[in-house]
């Protein structure tokens, strides 16, 4: 075991997987010589050479589509998209090619790729370095969408993703990269895909989140306990698509109240799906409206600190929503 940051955990997973399987390779802007914009791929070029660690041209479309092809031919590409804000040139390759290849060929042609994407706001990045955009991919069958919220999960889920046979969108939150540390095994392990985690046990309300706001949700739970004695169960979705609905439905069946938290825009953020599933499959268990704590429906995030702060989910906003739900 070693105390690791989230970015260390990602880096370790890449080193280990590239050692384990010679078919694994990395491609993206600045991933080789510079070791990645956030240093996620640090040391890979030195260890594995420039055939397996490729500084691509500035073209997200070809980063993804060449990965798809290489995967069809037996490789295990791990392309990196520097910021999800720049994933648009690669959206066709992801949603129309990777996501549908298995289906359109009835399973005879497949592309196991793990697209690592940096996302998320709250670091003053402005309108083009703060986006989430997970919804575009959650709404696309054929893709697995993963978004770890802890260093332990980051390593274990990335390894599981690379070994999985589906095209996977792997969302790494830039604010998590260096803000939290935890014990992470230096040995090989995986964390199962498609499974949510109960991060905090509770009986009075189920709070559902992922990524950076999961950390805020946990803090909010503690604060609500301090203020009101209520016990909030906190669920980390981990895989955003296909959703592990059982874990949160079971929790809501017990607590009878739910709040969903995410930093992306409100409309058709993942919170909409979670709320809709609860309203459909656990309606009779519910004692209160399902509130969503999210960014407003404006472009995310404006640069000036005052504006950014206004749009950003905070512990306080989560506490307020929990209180309102408990009071209902």
């Amino acid at each position: 075991m070693a105390v690791m940051t989230y970015i260390d955990a990602i880096n370790a997973a890449l080193h280990e997987e590239m050692e384990r399987d010679p078919n694994v390779f990395v491609i993206g802007e600045d991933v080789a010589k510079m070791g990645g914009a956030f240093k996620a791929t640090k040391g890979l070029l030195e260890k594995f050479g420039n055939e397996r660690v490729i500084d691509s041209p500035l073209a997200e479309g070809v980063i993804i589509s060449s990965s798809i092809g290489a995967a069809m031919a037996g490789m295990r590409p791990v392309p990196e998209i520097q910021f999800v804000d720049f994933i648009t040139p690669g959206i066709d390759a992801i949603t129309q090619q990777a996501a549908k290849l298995r289906y359109r060929s009835a399973g005879t042609q497949t592309c196991p790729i793990t697209v690592r994407v940096c996302y998320g706001g709250g670091v003053g990045g402005g309108l083009y370095h703060s986006q989430s955009n997970t919804s575009w991919f959650i709404h696309c069958p054929g893709l697995v969408v993963v978004a770890p919220s802890t260093p332990y999960d980051a390593k274990g889920l990335l390894k599981a993703a690379i070994r999985n046979d589906d095209p996977i969108m792997f969302f790494e939150h830039k604010k998590l990269y260096r803000s939290i540390k935890e014990e992470v095994p230096q040995e090989d392990y995986t964390v199962p895909l498609l499974k949510a985690a109960v991060r905090r046990k509770g009986t009075d309300l189920t709070a559902i989140s992922y990524g950076y706001t999961l950390q805020l949700t946990l803090q909010a739970a503690e604060e609500v306990k301090k203020k009101h004695g209520a016990e909030i169960e906190v669920i980390d979705l981990r895989t955003l698509s296909p959703l592990d609905t059982d874990t949160f439905l079971e929790s809501v069946a017990k607590t009878n109240r739910a709040v969903v938290v995410h930093e992306d825009n409100r409309t058709l953020g993942i919170g909409a799906e979670v709320a809709a599933v609860i309203a459909e499959q656990a309606f009779d268990c519910l004692d209160a409206p399902i509130l969503r704590v999210t960014a407003p429906d404006v472009p995310l995030l404006p640069a000036a600190a005052e504006l950014e702060h206004f749009c950003t989910v905070s512990v306080e906003k989560i506490v307020t929503a929990i209180e309102r739900t408990l009071d209902h």
Binding site: F25, E51, R52, S56, P57, A59, G61, V62, S65, S66, S67, I68, G69, A70, A71, M72, A73, G74, M75, P77, P89, D92, A93, Q96, Q97, K100, L101, R102, Y103, R104, S105, A106, G107, T108, Q109, T110, P141, G142, V144, N164, D165, D166, L194, P242, D246, L249, E250, V252, A253, K254, N256, E280, Q281, A282, D284, C285
Partner: protein
């Protein structure tokens, strides 16, 4: 679009190398087969015997055949919507091709993809999507893998001239050039992208002139001259196989019919269509072979009969094949099954925590 004057009217001209008689006869045989197969598909469509749509390459056989014949099974073909027949050169059985046209369970994709979109994994034909240039760009990745794996294989990627306007096309050609990948980018310039003439796609006459901007060889050939196409292609393939990297090959040709079976193609001048029909690559090749004592009417009759017999059998196979079962629509979305998720949703109730199930 290319003007008449650019071509000598007698076809094919001699290629840069003398071709083996067997190769010449094979080129002819495959052109004939492609023609007969596609004309039959068009008849089936008009008879309402399959649904969807079809994009015939009739008139473009010299390019279809010259670029994809004589590849190794391990070589990849990356077809566009108009390259259904490249499967024939690759060796995909006609039975499967017609099962595909009919959307049957026995099709390589079990009825999922549209009629013109047929791939075949065992022989490395990529199952197409509709997005223009998509298979070409995936093919670039396959070429990257071949290079990494030190395999002596190549990728042949086909698009129309319209595709060259799309950014994705450019991204792949550039990437392949930088990494010297074993891929040949074939531009099948048939003068139109649906109704839009090439003059509205590009301000240059020869699209192979784009190659200079990527640092790869670029060649324009008469796409109705199967010998010219084949010869240029062999050179490009040899270069790719031996580590010399990518080539851009433009083949100027023409489609006889509409963009698809539902397009009356009124946007074209009938005289233009007639001119190009007079340049039909098949009788041209017949003349060429005859001059070399490699062709006879009798041989053509035999070939035609044989091809028709194979087609009849394939159609019978297709028509006797089962249709897909409705709920198979849920299969092959992921490596794992989503049937349970889609067919039975659990409902939680205050009484029974894991209550009843429903669709």
């Amino acid at each position: 679009m290319a003007t008449a004057a650019q071509y000598t009217e007698t076809l094919p001209r001699e290629g840069s190398q003398q071709l083996d008689p067997e190769v010449l006869r094979r080129l002819y045989t495959y052109m004939l087969k492609c023609r007969i197969v596609e004309e039959r598909i068009r008849v089936l469509y008009r008879q309402g015997r399959f649904a969807g749509n079809y994009f015939a390459a009739v008139g473009q056989e010299a390019t279809e055949v010259g670029t994809t014949i004589d590849l190794l099974p391990e070589d990849t073909v990356a077809p566009s919507h108009r390259n259904f027949v490249t499967n024939i050169m690759k060796g995909t059985p006609l039975t499967l091709l017609f099962a595909h046209i009919y959307g049957r369970e026995t099709s390589p994709d079990q009825g999922r993809s549209a009629p013109a979109h047929c791939g075949y994994a065992p022989l490395n034909v990529i199952t197409p999507s509709s997005t223009i240039a998509a298979q070409q760009n995936i093919g670039t990745g396959i070429a990257l893998a071949y290079k990494m794996q030190r395999k002596p294989n190549v990728v042949v990627a086909l698009t129309g001239e319209g595709a060259t306007s799309l950014g994705f096309w450019h991204e792949a050609v550039n990437f392949a050039a930088v990494h010297k990948l074993p891929i040949i980018f074939v531009i099948e310039n048939n003068g139109y992208a649906e109704s839009v003439p090439v003059s509205l796609q590009s301000a240059v006459e020869d699209l192979s002139s784009k190659a200079a901007g990527y640092g790869i060889p670029g060649v324009t050939v008469d796409g109705n001259d199967v010998v010219a196409v084949y010869t240029a292609m062999r050179e490009a393939i040899d270069r790719a196989r031996s580590g010399g990297g990518a080539t851009l090959l433009e083949c100027k040709t023409y489609r006889w019919y509409g963009h698809s079976e539902i397009d009356p193609a009124k946007y074209r001048d009938p005289a233009e269509v007639e001119y190009w029909k007079s340049r039909d690559p098949i009788p041209a090749m017949e003349h060429y072979l005859t001059a070399r004592n490699l062709w006879s009417d009798q041989w053509k009759k035999e070939l035609t009969a044989e091809i028709n017999r194979e087609i009849d059998e394939a159609i019978a196979f297709a028509e006797n094949s089962p249709k897909p079962k409705a709920d198979e629509a849920l299969d092959h979305v992921y490596s794992f099954s989503i049937r349970e998720r889609e067919l039975k949703r659990k409902v939680w109730s205050p009484r029974s925590q894991r209550g009843s199930s429903w669709r």
